[in-house]
Every structure is written in C-alpha cells, then in structure tokens.
Symmetry: C2
Subunit: 340 residues, 2 copies
C-alpha cells in the first residue's frame, strides 16, 4: 500500500511563510489527497510544534530534522555546497537516494536550480534542465520554457527545451498535440538573432513535436502556442513583463474605481465580475514550476505562496510523477544518444 | 523666415490609412504648428486630390511626386535598394541632401531602419543607430532602447544606446538626470548573460549618464528607470509584451463588464473613469519613435496611426530637431573618437 503513495520531499524552511505555511499546506494536502506522503525537512522542534496543532494522518507526514537553512540572498552554488544539512539540500538528497519521488520548495530559486542539477542530476542525454512555469492566456494556459538561471543557451539545448515542454504540456497539462512556438521578433523564418535562426530549422525538422513556427511576444498572452520556447534571459523577461504589466493594470484599475462616489458606486456592482474574470490571470495561481530534465521531479513554488498554493503544488507533484513523463524523457533523450 | 521652419519629409504612402491619413495629419500639423513645413512624398495625383479638400497654408505643404511604394512585407534591404523612386526612399534623400530636417513614415519599419542607416547615414562614431520608442509607466514615460531590427548587439553598442537614450530623455522628453537602467534577470551586478555582464561595468564607468544598475522586467511598467537599455531582441519582446498583456487585460475587463445586467449597470458608472485612467497606457499614444544616431532625424510611427497621431508625430519631429540633440550626439561620439 505505502509503496503506491507518491512520496514528496518538502522543504519545510523555504518561502516567506515557512515553516507554518509549509506545514499547513502539507496537512491540507494529505487530507485532500490520499495518494500523498510528505517528508518535510527543517527544524524538528519548529515543525513538530506547528504539526501538533493539526489533526492529520500521522503516517503520511514525516519530519526529517535538519539544522541549516539556505537564505534567498545566498550565492546558490556556494550555499548548496556548504550547507549539507540544510532543509533544501536534505530534501534534494531524499529524491536523489530514491527515498522520495518529488521535491518541492518555496525557497531560493537559484539554489533549487543548482541543487536539482548537481544533486538530483540530469537525465542522461539532457544537456540542460529547464524551468517551465505555466502562464495564463486568454485561451487557458501555456508552458513557458526556459525561465531558469542558466542563460546563453545553445541551439541544441533550446531544441530540448521544446521537446521537454511539449511532453510536459501533453502528459501533465493534458493538451493534445501541443502547439510549440519559438519566441522571435517576427513571424517569418529568416527573422531573429543568431540563436533563434539556428534553432528554427532544428525545431522544424524535429519529429514528435508540433512546431507552429515563430511567435511574437505580443501574441503570447492571447494563447498563440501551448509551449512557448526561448532561452532563459528572454523567458525571464516574458514572465516578469506579465507580472509587471498586470500589476500596473491592477493599480490603474483600482485608482479608477476609487476616483469618486460615482465610480465607487459602480465599483460595487462590477467588482465581483472583474475579480472572476481576472482570477485566472494571476501568476501565483500557477505557482509551482518543474525543473524539467532532472532524474526526479524538482518543483519550485513562489516564495510568497500561501497554504492553498502549497497544497495545490503538492498535489501537482503527485500528478506529475504519475504522468510518468520523467520516464518518457529518459527514453527520448537516451534513444537520441544511442542514435548518435 | 522660411529657413527657420522645421522642414519634415513625410512619407505620404506609408501606413494603413495612406495617403489620406498622412495628408490630413499634415494639414492638421501645419494648422496647429506655425513652425513646420512638410514635404510629402507620394503619388502626385492622389496627394493633390486629398489636399484639395482642405484649407491650409499652401506654402507649407509641398508635394514631392514619386512613382513607387515600398510594401511592409518586402525585404527591407532589397526594397530600399531597388525602389529609388519610392515615397520612402525619396523622403530619406530629402533629409540626406539637407532639403529637410526630419523624416517621418508610418510604413515598413524595416525599410525605415535600413534606409535611415544607409541613406541618411550614421553620426560619426555611432556604431549602430537604435530605435527608441517611448513606453508608458505608472510614473509617466520611459525610453526603451533598442527596439530596432539589428539584433546580436555588441557591448560597446549597448553602451552607446544608453548614452543616446539618456540624451533623448533629457533633451527631448525633459527628464533631468534621467535614470538609466540595464534590463537584466536580477538586480545584482553579477547576474545576467554574457552581453549584460560585459555592458554593466561599461555603464558604471561611463561619464555623463546616471546609471542606476540592473532593472528587472517586472519593474519597467512601474517606472523604475527613465531610460531602459537592452539589445533589440529583448527590446522587441518588452515592447510586444506590453502590447499583448495590455490587450489581454482589456479583453478580460470588457468581458467582465458585459457579464450581465448588474455588471452592465455598474459599467455605465465606472467606464469613464477606467478610460481616463487607462488613456495614458496605450502604446499608440506614443507612436513615433526616433532612430537615434542618424545624421538627421529619422522617425517611425505606427502603421495603424490615425490623423491625430500623424499630427502629433510631426510636431514631435520639430521639437526633436529644435532640441539640437543630433548636434550633441555628433559632439559626444566625435569627441570619443578623437580621444582614442
């Protein structure tokens, strides 16, 4: 029975609200999802104190005592190397050693990316794992890949991002034949910088993906592609422009509604509908992003996540593991290697 | 008297509404601004027919007959080379030959960028001219440089973008000591790709600009810098994310307000205030973007511009010319050359 559970290593000390938000999220997840077992790493006393306030299936939340914490500001490589008994490094080792199937942290993105690669390790044949958040669009959601910290990618790496993103979209998000688009500054094949010009023909000739050509940044939020492929610098700019422009719009809208008594009266009537329409367009709703290409699932969620997000991210971890896409990637890239 | 007028070469055949929108814009501009003289290039019969319907100072709109038109879809270099009697190429030559002080087109951006560089020519010492649109922010506006078509810029070129953008912000937009920010994926100096890591120290040590360090895309729309510096691929992504996310928000908002009778009643009350708050946040309001670094002013406005935008862009041309920033750039980059 227990070996059928999805075992998740949860970094109990990462994120703004840790450890209490992490503990509450873990409790909520095991209550809602009977297929999850959580190994939560962190300060034993603090975790047990938080847990003691809750009713839950004791067998499915296991405290793994650790003594160190990696702070967001620490240089990732140094932190991962030096803090062997940190909640993050220990959680990563649980996956590495096969004691857990997935890793989730709301702590330092840099340390998770570095730790995921050097501790959990890359799938054989994967040149570079890629961070693949889900972004909201007018048509639903798209996968944006890569948003990681490793910039200056090579064309062969970007090709793999497209392949991994496509597998993720199809097997985890459930899109049939996901449309894969390459971010470019024009729709025509000959447009772009040296990198995308090199990537375009690779994508065009790649079997197993549904390449729809170049996509312009203007059309991403309209949902022009299910998998939006780019190197990490551009991916970061896209993700953060989403956040920035959305936030600016909320401010302008809020100020507009608060202008005077008339606008405030109108606001009372329209607010619920605006809220409903915008609710799918907040980045935090899709908080957890997988680092695709690692031997086990490495998942990062927002530093500012709340209990519901932690719970949802944990359930997402189980769904991801059950989709079996790590095995599919091993097959895809392992075969590609043998074919060389 | 006439030699004090700002003489603008207007591409009468560029843009979706040409020639009528161009002609009407020209008429509106000479009516509103007594310091402007317009040389409008294009089909003589069509232009005269459009002009005949208007009352205006005949001395200040001169028709320059041309026989060809460059279409948006044409490859820019080929088009500029082959269509010597196009409205665009002839207008550029008017600036090149000193018959006009500025060039404005709503036609092909690529052809304007190519033509600006090879016909009007670069200022001595400028490695690469850069397209610098103005973008709305919560605090006002910022200059985004480069949004041109020349990607894969070198660090020394990006440094010049910062210098030119700073001059533009200070002398044309009127910002005192404009804050110059480098687009990066983190705030720390050591962050980024190879290009921005090379650019950062150059900006830090550059005299005459107020470098405020790295800026993240998330903070651009909040107005974190007056001059937002990046290479053209990233600039294009930023500009188009603005457009795309803004457009998605308008759609969501519109749908929300149209949900049912209650939301519609509220919408009647709030709409004027929302419109007022958002009006400064439409990209088309800041349509005309200069190609900085050319020997004369080369200005590009939106293909979909209306009469008011054409008029405003023409007045903007005069203000730009009178600011004397082309002379300042000649001085800055000429001196830098001599110093080598």
């Amino acid at each position: 029975m227990s070996n059928k559970l999805c075992r998740i290593a949860l970094d109990g000390m990462g994120g703004d609200g840790a450890p209490s938000v992490m503990v509450e999220g873990a409790v909520a997840a095991v209550k809602e999802d009977s297929g999850i077992e959580i190994h939560i790493t962190g300060d034993e006393e603090a975790l047990n104190r938080e847990l003691s306030g809750h009713e839950y299936d004791k067998d499915r939340i296991i405290v793994v005592p650790t003594t160190e914490v990696i702070e967001t500001a620490e240089p990732p490589v140094v932190a991962v190397h030096n803090k062997k008994d940190s909640s993050m490094v220990r959680a990563l080792y649980l996956v590495k050693n096969g004691e857990c199937d997935a890793y989730l942290s709301a702590g330092s993105t840099g340390a998770t990316l570095v730790g995921g690669q050097i501790i959990v390790g890359r799938i054989k044949g994967v040149e570079r794992p890629a961070l693949a958040p889900v972004i909201p669009t007018e048509k639903g959601v798209s996968v944006l890949i890569d948003c990681g910290a490793n910039v200056d990618a090579r064309a062969s790496q970007v090709l793999q991002f497209a392949q991994m993103g496509s597998l993720y979209s199809e097997n985890v998000i459930g899109v049939k034949k996901p449309r894969v688009g390459l971010v470019n500054i024009g729709a025509e094949e000959e447009k772009g910088n040296a990198l995308v010009k090199e990537v375009y023909p690779l994508l065009k000739e790649c079997p197993g993906i549904n390449f729809v050509g170049n996509v312009e940044a203007r059309d991403i939020s309209a949902g022009v592609a299910d998998v939006v492929v780019c190197e990490a610098f551009v991916g970061n700019v896209i993700l953060k422009m989403y956040e920035g422009v959305a936030s600016t719009f909320y401010h302008l809208l809020k100020n507009a509604l608060l202008t005077n008594a008339v606008s405030k009266a109108g606001a009372l009537l329209v607010k619920p509908y605006i809220k409903e329409a915008m609710k799918d367009f907040t980045m935090t709703k899709y908080g957890a992003a997988p680092l695709l290409g690692c031997k086990g699932l490495v998942m990062k969620t927002h530093g500012s996540c709340d209990v519901t997000e932690v719970k949802n991210s944990l359930i997402q971890c189980r769904e991801f593991v059950e989709s079996g896409i790590t095995g599919r990637m091993e097959e895809l890239f392992g075969t590609a290697l043998k074919g060389r």
